[in-house]
Symmetry: C2
Subunit: 424 residues, 2 copies
C-alpha cells in the first residue's frame, strides 16, 4: 500500500534533512522572541472560506468533508487563516502578539514534481503593530533564516500593494479592473510578458500597454511623480521608502531588492509584500502586510504582517546547491557486545547519559553482520564491548572511516567523547 496520491513519506536522510532545517528555522524564530502557536489541522469550512470572501470556489482547492454531525470541515491550506481566527477570538492578548507556527498544510493541487498535496510551512507573524519596524523585523528574520541555512546568495524581493494599485491607476485603468490587472501580472513567472498582455487584452482591461511598460521597466524612481498623484500611491511610497531606509540602516540592503513585478497572489495583502528567491524557478517563501484579515474573522482591527517559508522548497534548493553540511544528522555510535550483553547495555546507558547517541545490537547477530549493519546505517563509530577486553577493564573503539582503533579504559569513558569531538 502506498501513501495517498500527491503525498509522501519522509524517511531516512530525507527526514533528517527536514529535521535539520526545521530546527534551524525554529531556533531563529525563537531568538527573535516569537512564541509557538499550534492550531488544529481541521477547521470549519466557514473559517477556511472566509479569507476568500466566503465563497464555495475554495472547495475545489482544499480537502473538504463533513463530520458525522454534518459539520462542514476542511484541512487547513495555510497557517495564516487559523492564526487570524485565533487572534480574532482572543482580543485581549498583549500586543504585539508575535507567534511562529510550523506545520503541515494541505491543498488539492494537481500533483507535480516537487509539489505535494501535503506540505510544510514555517511562518512568523506579528499582530497588532502598524509600524514599519514590524516590516523590518519580518525581513530581518527571513534574511537570518536564509543565512543560517547557508544560502550564499538569495534576495528578498519587495513590493507594495498600494504602489501596485497606483501603477494600475496611473496607467489609466479604471478601479474596477484593478483585480484583473493584478491577476494577470501575478502570472509573470508562469506565462511571461506576452501571456500577460494577452490576458489583459482578453479581460478587456483598457490602457494595459502603459501598465505593462511601467512594470516591465521596473524603475520606481522613474514613475514616482506619477504615483504621487494618487492617495494610494503616496501611502505606498511612504511604506516602501520607509522600509528601504530601515533596511539600509540595519545593513540588510545586500539581500533586499525592490521589484515592481511582484504581486504575491490575490490574497489579503494590504501593504508591503515579500518573496524569497534563492535561485531555481520557485520562490521558497513569501508574505507581507495584511491589516484587514483579523477583522474578517470577527476580530478588532488588527494590523498584521508575516512571512512563510515553504519548507520542502527550501530543502530542495539546499539540496540542489549542496548546502547540507556533513553533520546534518546526529552522530550515532554502534555498540557490539561480545558475550558481554549485560555490561554493554550498562555502558551504553552511561554513554547516552553523557550525551553520546548509541545504537546497539538488537538481533543477537555475529560481529561481521553487525559491521555490515553499522555500515549500512552510515555509522562511523563502532564500539566493541567484549568479554575478554572487559577482564582488563577495556573496551575497543573503531573509527570505520579511518580504520583507527583505541582501547578505552572503563573508568575513562570521557575519552570516547573526546575522540568523537576531535574527529569532527
Amino acid at each position: 500500500m502506498q501513501p495517498v496520491r500527491g503525498m509522501k513519506d519522509w524517511s531516512g536522510d530525507e527526514a533528517w534533512k527536514r529535521e535539520y532545517v526545521l530546527e534551524r528555522i525554529k531556533d531563529v524564530f525563537q531568538s527573535y522572541g516569537y512564541e509557538p502557536l499550534e492550531t488544529p489541522a481541521v477547521e470549519y469550512f466557514e473559517t477556511l472560506a472566509a479569507k476568500g470572501g466566503g465563497g464555495e470556489e475554495i472547495k475545489e482547492e482544499i480537502y473538504y468533508f463533513k463530520d458525522k454531525a454534518d459539520r462542514e470541515l476542511g484541512l487547513r491550506f495555510d497557517l495564516t487563516v487559523p492564526t487570524a481566527r485565533f487572534v480574532a477570538s482572543n482580543p485581549t492578548m498583549p500586543k504585539p502578539y508575535k507567534r511562529y507556527a510550523i506545520g503541515k498544510v494541505w491543498r488539492y493541487d494537481r500533483p507535480q514534481a516537487g509539489r505535494y498535496r501535503e506540505f510544510t510551512q514555517a511562518d512568523i507573524d506579528i499582530f497588532g503593530s502598524p509600524s514599519i519596524w514590524a516590516d523590518l523585523e519580518i525581513l530581518e528574520i527571513a534574511i537570518t533564516v536564509m543565512r543560517k541555512l547557508g544560502f550564499p546568495e538569495f534576495k528578498i524581493r519587495v513590493n507594495n500593494r498600494k504602489i501596485l494599485e497606483a501603477m494600475v491607476l496611473a496607467s489609466g485603468i479604471p478601479e474596477d479592473k484593478v483585480i484583473d490587472a493584478f491577476r494577470a501580472i501575478d502570472k509573470l513567472d508562469k506565462i511571461g510578458w506576452d501571456g500577460i498582455t494577452k490576458e489583459l487584452q482578453a479581460k478587456g482591461v483598457p490602457n494595459y500597454e502603459k501598465l505593462v511598460s511601467i512594470i516591465r521597466e521596473n524603475n520606481l524612481e522613474k514613475i514616482r511623480g506619477e504615483l504621487e498623484k494618487f492617495d494610494v500611491g503616496r501611502a505606498g511610497l511612504e511604506e516602501i521608502d520607509g522600509l528601504m531606509k530601515l533596511v539600509r540602516e540595519a545593513g540588510l540592503e545586500k539581500w533586499v531588492e525592490l521589484d515592481l513585478t511582484l504581486v504575491r497572489g490575490l490574497e489579503y495583502y494590504t501593504g508591503n509584500v515579500f518573496e524569497i528567491k534563492a535561485g531555481g524557478q520557485w520562490s521558497c517563501g513569501g508574505g507581507g502586510r495584511y491589516d484587514k484579515l483579523v477583522e474578517i474573522y470577527g476580530g478588532r482591527p488588527t494590523p498584521a504582517i508575516g512571512i512563510s517559508f515553504g519548507v520542502e522548497r527550501v530543502i530542495q534548493l539546499m539540496e540542489d546547491s549542496g548546502l547540507f553540511p556533513e553533520n546534518y544528522k546526529p552522530t550515532v555510535m554502534y555498540i557490539a557486545p561480545i558475550q558481554a550483553e549485560k555490561e554493554a547495555w550498562k555502558i551504553r546507558q552511561k554513554l547516552i547519559e553523557m550525551g553520546i547517541a548509541c545504537d546497539i545490537d538488537l538481533m543477537e547477530r555475529k560481529l561481521n553482520k553487525q559491521f555490515d549493519y553499522a555500515k549500512s546505517k552510515g555509522y562511523r563509530w563502532f564500539l566493541i564491548i567484549g568479554k575478554k577486553d572487559l577482564e582488563e577493564n577495556k573496551i575497543n573503539l573503531k573509527d570505520l572511516e579511518t580504520g583507527e582503533e583505541w582501547k578505552i579504559g572503563l573508568v575513562n569513558l570521557e575519552e570516547i567523547r573526546q575522540i568523537l569531538e576531535n574527529s569532527r
Copy 2:
C-alpha cells in the same frame, strides 16, 4: 470563530510546555539511535481499516471522507498503522529499522475533559527484531523519557498476550471465547471487577469465575504450573521471564511491574505489552510487540515492537504534579530603544548572534508602555538603549525580577550573557 469541536489551539505557556516536552522526548529517542519518519496525516481508508480486519466499523471512529476523485480517505488515528504501511512497502531497508514519529492523530471520539479529537503521539518502534533485547530497549527508552521529564514515581506495567490467552484457556474457557474474555478484562479501569463479571456472563463465557479469580489474584508464580500446560503459556512465560531478567540486569526493575490485568485493547499485540502509569486515572502511554501487522500491509513477515506516549496526557500529569521547571520556556530579553532605534537594532543583531533571544519595541511606544508589555510577556531582562547612554558607549540592563541594574559597555556585550547565566 472557534476551533473545530473537540480540537484545541495551543498557545502561550501551554504551547511552550508542549515544546519543552516534545523536545525532551525527541532527544531521548535520538540518543538511542532512532531516526525520524514523517508520514502523511491522510491515508487511504483501506490502509486505516486493514489493521482491524478491513471492516467498515472503523468509519464511525475516524475522520473519513472522499477526495474529488472519489478516493476513500481518512485522517490517521495512530502513527503505527502508517509506519507498518511504510515498512511493508520498503522491504529492503536494513533491519532493525528503528524509527521515531511525533505527530498529530485524529479520532472521532466523544469530546470530554482532557481528551481531544486531535491529539499528539510520540512513538518509537523497532521493526525486524524478534529478540527480547528489542523489548528491553523499548522499556528502557520509555523509562528514560519519564525520568528526563522529571516524573519522581511511575511504573511501566508489563503483561504478555500469550499469557493472557493461556490464562483464559487454563480457566476452561474455549478458544472461540478468548476475544470476548480479553474485551471484558480490558475494561477493568472503566467498569471494575463487577462490571467484568457481568459482561462475561452476558457474553455467555463459561468458567468466567475462574478467570476472574486468577486475574484478580494477579500472581504469576501461583499459576505458572497451569500456564505451562499450554504451548501458548510456555511461549508467553519465556517472553515475560526473559524480559524481566533483562530488566533486572539493566537495573530497571524499580520502574517495571508485572500486571496480569493489563490487556492494552483488542489491537494487534502478539507478545509482551506495556502501559505507562504515573498517577492519575489515565495511562500516559503504552505499546507492545505486534509481530503480524506488517504482513497485514502486504509486507514480509517482520517482527515489531514499540511504545507510544500520549503527549497531552504526559503534559497534564506533569502539570498536576508541578514537574515543569521554571525555565521551561526560553529566556527572552526585551530591548527598549530611546531615540536610538538604529543602534538598538544593530546591538540586537549582535546579541541574537551571541545566542541571546531578544524582543524589541515594534510599536514606537513610550518607555512605560514598553515596561508594561515586557511584564505582561513575563520577560525578566529589560535592556534600555538610549541616546544619552550611547554617547558614553553604554547601555542599561535591568532585572525586572530583582530591580537590579547594570551599565554595560558596548565593547563588552559578553557581560550581558554572564549576568543572565549567573542569575539562573
